[in-house]
């Protein structure tokens, strides 16, 4: 079996346990529902709220470089630290955090394989409600790496140039049967998908325990069964950009594709754009 293209960005729960409290290794839990962090987290982990802390609270955008620096400095993180991210909802929001960390040039950021659910279900792994004591640090980010992010013009360009478009939402969202999962407030005017997109739900990439599938399995799923051409540029999207961060991580770091962007505007942007072409129904075979 071959290894992941960048095995250094994925750590196992056992590795995290062995490295708890070590200098230079910082843990961040990123959740959409921070009740989980408040109820119990890995000792030493700082909790971040995806909705209020990783996104600009006025514009629809990722937080600015200045806010990113303040956030990490406030969490006591230095640019040289190894930052391990994990979170709820199968690491979707942690993967979004990983993407954001890479946009702002953090060198050593990693995901904990399986997220908080895996840690929770391993009886030898400690959990605490204690807030970690944090010494604020000075954090200087690099200028945003725009090549990791797809904006609407690139999504339109992708359709003209036949880039790989990967829709990671559920099949019912892809076909337009539903616009969003039940109960979601962020939605769109229409249901369907971006023309030419392949439907590869995010969960295709994980095992029953939430850990990523093996390199060979992932290669077979994405490059084999779904025909993603590694020579082409690739854009992953979902509804609000968090599930697609998970797939972006798989394509960019586990399979090692060079040009992969996460479209964080995703369906809540594209599905609302006046005049943008969409498709409905089942995917045509590629």
């Amino acid at each position: 079996m071959t290894n992941y293209a960048h095995p250094e960005v994925l750590v196992e729960t056992d590795w995290v346990k062995q490295n708890l409290g070590k200098p230079g290794i910082r843990l961040l839990e990123i959740d959409v529902d921070t009740k989980a962090y408040a109820a119990g987290h890995i000792p030493g982990a700082v909790g971040l709220n995806w909705q209020t802390q990783l996104q600009d609270q006025v514009r629809r955008d990722i937080i600015s470089q200045e806010d990113f620096e303040k956030l990490l400095g406030g969490a006591g993180i230095s640019p040289d630290d190894t930052v391990v991210l994990y979170g709820d909802n199968h690491n979707w929001f942690a993967a979004y955090g990983f993407w954001l960390f890479k946009i702002y040039g953090h060198n050593d950021v990693r995901l904990m394989n399986g997220g908080r659910v895996k840690w929770l279900n391993e009886n030898d792994k400690p959990l605490t409600t204690d807030q970690p004591s944090v010494e604020p640090a000075a954090y200087k980010a690099t200028k945003p790496t725009r090549e990791l992010r797809a904006m609407l013009p690139q999504v339109l360009e992708a359709q003209r140039k036949k880039w790989n478009l990967v829709d990671v939402r559920s099949p019912d969202e892809f076909t337009g049967k539903v616009i969003a999962p039940p109960g979601m407030t962020e939605t769109a005017q229409r249901g369907g998908h971006i023309p030419g997109a392949r439907s590869v739900p995010w969960s295709t990439a994980v095992n029953p325990d939430g850990t990523f599938k093996s390199p060979d399995e992932l290669r077979s799923i994405y490059l084999g069964q779904n025909g993603i051409d590694p020579q082409q540029q690739t854009i992953a999207y979902c509804r609000i950009g968090e599930r697609s961060s998970h797939t972006w991580f798989v394509l960019r770091y586990l399979l090692g594709l060079d040009n992969v962007r996460n479209y964080d505007g995703s369906w809540t942007e594209y599905g609302n754009v006046v005049g943008a072409p969409i498709e409905k129904g089942v995917p045509v075979s590629k």
């Binding site: 989980a36 109820a39 119990g40 659910v117 325990d209």
Partner: protein
């Protein structure tokens, strides 16, 4: 305690068992087959309002007996409502605190009832885009409380606790056997934690291995609180396929329609899960033609008025001036 006069020293003495069973009531108008009479076991006549009284009591007593609760240590439990209501009311009546972790889609009536019964409530977002087999949000949050704050909480864990099964082996099964004088041929149940089906079936099969067990499940993506589609059953460690003869899948909307019919034709104020079970039973009556059927009706309609309005066209009309 006197079951004849129904005078009790505490509410706990009213809990059902072979000597004080919940009633079996025959269906008359919606199904009148003399070859295959159907009986509804009215679990809402348990003292705390649902079939979950049985498992809740067995699990709570077990924690008490083992000294797991008391002092500052209460309980935390993931629940779609009924187990939480039973556990909260029982726990508070015995002096323990209770925290209930509830999925958002649980009807408002049940959430408010949990608070009225004395539970502290954690409402969590429903699964956004779940992957088959991956953990359930409410179970995981309850587990987190139990592990990170073990000085405050013990977790009965109805999805894994064998006491849930034992409760039905000890009470539901013997009650039905005695009430039907051993004539039961078909048991109709729904699937949730699977404590009811596993415990009751084990007992009935120990008396008569030929008793057929029919589980009725709602279609995937359903909106019937408390029940699980077969694809959602992995979270329950109590599911034992060897004890089930047939698993019927019924369009979940029929659960609401059938519940309404039971209310309006039989005088049985049955909830949607009972409606689902009744629909499944009717299918089997047609197929097997002869027998004696017992349907376990988990709870009544009172907690589901909002869901009924949602799923029964026209029901909400004419309710305002």
């Amino acid at each position: 305690m006197n079951h004849a006069t129904r005078v009790y020293d505490s509410i706990f003495e009213m809990l059902p068992n072979e000597d004080n069973p919940t009633p079996l009531v025959r269906i008359n108008r919606l199904s009148n087959s003399t070859q295959f009479p159907l009986y509804a076991k009215l679990e809402w006549l348990c003292p705390f309002g649902s079939v979950k009284d049985r498992a809740a009591w067995e699990m709570l007593r077990d924690l008490e007996t083992r000294g797991e609760i008391g002092g500052q240590r209460g309980i935390v439990e993931p629940t779609s409502g009924n187990t939480g209501i039973s556990l909260a009311a029982m726990a508070r009546a015995r002096g323990y605190h209770m925290r209930a972790v509830v999925p958002n889609k649980v009807p408002l009536e049940k959430k408010v009832l949990l608070k009225i019964a004395g539970a502290e409530l954690d409402v969590i977002s429903d699964e956004l885009c779940p992957a088959p087999g991956l953990g359930d949000g409410s179970i995981n949050l309850a587990k987190t409380h139990a592990r990170a704050s073990s000085h405050k909480y013990a977790m009965p864990n109805q999805y894994e606790n064998d006491k849930n099964v034992q409760a039905h082996f000890r009470t539901t099964g013997p009650e039905i056997w005695k009430q039907t004088q051993g004539k039961i041929t078909h048991l109709f149940v729904s699937l949730g934690t699977c404590g009811t089906v596993t415990g009751t079936s084990k007992f009935l099969r120990s008396q008569n291995p030929k008793v057929k067990v029919v589980a009725v499940q709602p279609t995937e993506g359903h909106d019937v609180p408390g029940l699980r589609n077969i694809s959602q059953l992995k979270v329950s460690k109590l599911f034992d396929a060897s004890l089930i003869d047939d698993i019927l899948e019924v369009d979940f909307r029929l659960a609401y329609g059938r519940a309404l019919e039971l209310c309006q034709n039989e005088g049985l104020l049955a909830g949607p899960s009972s409606g689902l079970i009744f629909e499944g039973a009717m299918t089997i009556v047609k197929r097997d033609k002869a027998g004696v059927g017992v349907m376990i009706f988990p709870d009544n309609i009172f907690k589901y008025t909002a869901n009924m309005v949602k799923h029964i066209p026209g029901l909400g009309e004419g309710t305002t001036a």
